[in-house]
């Protein structure tokens, strides 16, 4: 499907693309296992940002001079790269936002004010990130609507029958994650979208944890909204994408007001700009957009086939190795998983394990991972989470296992 030829996957070469992996942490070569929180950046992206600021910067969409037009072209070319990357029908449907959180807030607020009324309902799931809970709680409270939560089973999979049963005609939108950041579960979003559409309900997919691992195709998925963050997919922080079907975006009121998003302004009445600009008030994150475009090029060069294969191998290897540690239990054992492993050992607190791993140069995430309701369901204070990107290797996993064993000697 991708036009760009995919390189042969050489993990040692790949690692050299990420300068940060050369540094030390607490005097040890770093083992970076927190890419689900934010990924590291390849030199290509870092250099692109540098070049842009050195040679290419001007405000976009407003200057008649050459430099501004160059910046505008680079900016809009990046939008086209995004469109192609997710196979959206039109680049008008690709809105630049600050990240996944802003994408969800935009839809909750704009779609919500237009389509959610008293007595209606919004349907989410029990495995959502706070970013996909709180914006809906806010709009539900404002509009007098009900927030419904579809349950998750002990393995960390969505309970589909229950989810479908909750989709009645009060539900005005379903919002769920493609991949869970805490459990690694890959949700069957395509089937869920089909089911929702049969009942006339649009669906927003939180793709923050999916995009770094798998190819997504808007026309195949048929999602009404899909949003993700650049910083989790090897791009800069502060930039993300909200894809939305034109038919919804046209009907939705603007989210923020200001420059860029207007056609004409008088004190009596303002007319709004066309898509996508209607939702991009103010000077955008130009360097972020250009850096994101470069990250997309980089992913295409590495190739999703390679990424998926390598990460799956890491997941299988890590699951095997970790399972051999006595007392270790993995939280989230869905059949279909991305390369994220949450675990606990005996009743050892995740903070203690994480603090010792830090001293050993191993970066893992500990805590509730912004999914407090999910932790409550499992009755645990949090987990230790190791998440892998395609720049991780088996040696990283060996260091992790060794580190855990050493920490356990100290903590037991």
């Amino acid at each position: 499907m991708q036009a760009t030829a995919q390189k042969v996957f050489d993990i040692d070469k790949i690692r050299q693309d990420f300068p940060l992996l050369e540094r030390e942490m607490n005097g040890k070569p770093i083992v970076f296992l927190d890419s689900a929180a934010s990924s590291q950046k390849p030199s290509a992206v870092i250099d692109k940002l540098n070049d842009y600021y050195r040679q290419g910067h001007a405000n976009v969409h407003r200057g008649v001079y050459q430099l501004s037009q160059e910046a505008t072209t680079a900016f809009e070319e990046a939008r086209e790269l995004v469109r192609e990357f997710i196979n959206a029908p039109s680049s008008k449907e690709c809105i630049f936002v600050r990240g996944c959180t802003e994408g969800i807030n935009l839809v909750a607020s704009s779609y919500g004010r237009k389509f959610i009324n008293e007595g209606d309902a919004v349907l989410i799931t029990a495995m959502e990130h706070h970013s996909n809970i709180v914006p809906w709680q806010m709009i539900c409270e404002e509009r007098g609507a009900e927030l419904r939560v579809a349950p998750v089973n002990d393995e960390g999979e969505l309970m589909l029958d229950e989810l479908y049963a909750l989709m009645d005609d009060k539900v005005k939108i379903v919002s769920l994650s493609h991949v869970s950041n805490t459990l690694g579960t890959v949700n069957p979003v395509k089937a869920i979208i089909q089911k929702a559409h049969q009942k006339g309900i649009p669906v927003l997919v939180d793709g923050a944890q999916a995009i770094p691992h798998t190819q997504v195709d808007m026309q195949e998925l048929d999602a009404d909204f899909y949003t993700f963050s650049g910083h989790k997919m090897f791009g800069p922080t502060g930039i993300g994408v909200l894809y939305g079907k034109e038919k919804w975006l046209e009907q939705m009121p603007p989210y923020h007001g200001g420059g860029e998003m207007i056609k004409t302004v008088t004190f009596e009445k303002t007319t709004y700009n066309e898509l996508p600009h209607k939702f991009e008030a103010g000077t955008p994150d130009i360097s972020g957009v250009i850096g994101l475009g470069e990250a997309i090029q980089y992913i295409k060069e590495v190739g999703y086939d390679n990424i998926s294969r390598h990460e799956h191998e890491l997941l299988v290897y890590a699951t095997e190795q970790l399972s051999q540690i006595e007392g270790l239990r993995i939280i989230g054992t869905a059949k279909d998983k991305a390369s994220v492993i949450s675990f606990l050992v005996d009743d050892i607190h995740p903070y203690d394990l994480g603090a010792i791993l830090d001293k050993l140069g191993i970066a893992v995430r500990t805590g509730h991972h912004c999914t407090q309701p999910l932790m409550d369901q499992y009755g645990i204070p949090g987990t230790v989470r190791a998440s892998f990107a395609f720049y991780n290797n088996r040696a990283d996993i060996d260091r992790l296992v060794e580190g855990i064993n050493r920490a356990l000697k100290m903590l037991r």
């Binding site: 607490n26 050892i348 607190h349 995740p350 830090d358 805590g367 949090g382 100290m410």
Partner: protein, 140 residues
Amino acid sequence: MAEINNIQNEIIDEFAFFGDWMEKYEYIIDLGKSLPLIDEQYKDEDHLIKGCQSQVWLHADEEEGKVKFTADSDAVITKGIIALLIRVLSGQKAEDIAKSDLYFIDKIGLKEHLSPTRSNGLVSMVKQMKMYGLALNAKS
């Protein structure tokens, strides 16, 4: 005040004997594992300081112008550091607690545990301890 600093210096001297971070952590973990520091009845919502990572319970009693602290945490390293903080501050005069400068944490190489980004409840706990000191001092 002198007393608080004396204890801090004592701890710094003790830690000077440790060869590396492992020995320090082993000591902290042992401290954390030793007897509970707080009466079970105080481990409730009212005494809870919620961190994102670990939780802390803190209780204060006043005895003749001095504040006696007891505290606990669900994470053992956090609890070990609490034991040190209590050794320094508990039983001291309210005024001294309010004014204290807890330099020992930095000196013994554990300052990362008292950084707000760790969000383990310790920063809020120290604030709370000083607030008790302030409040009691204002009362007297």
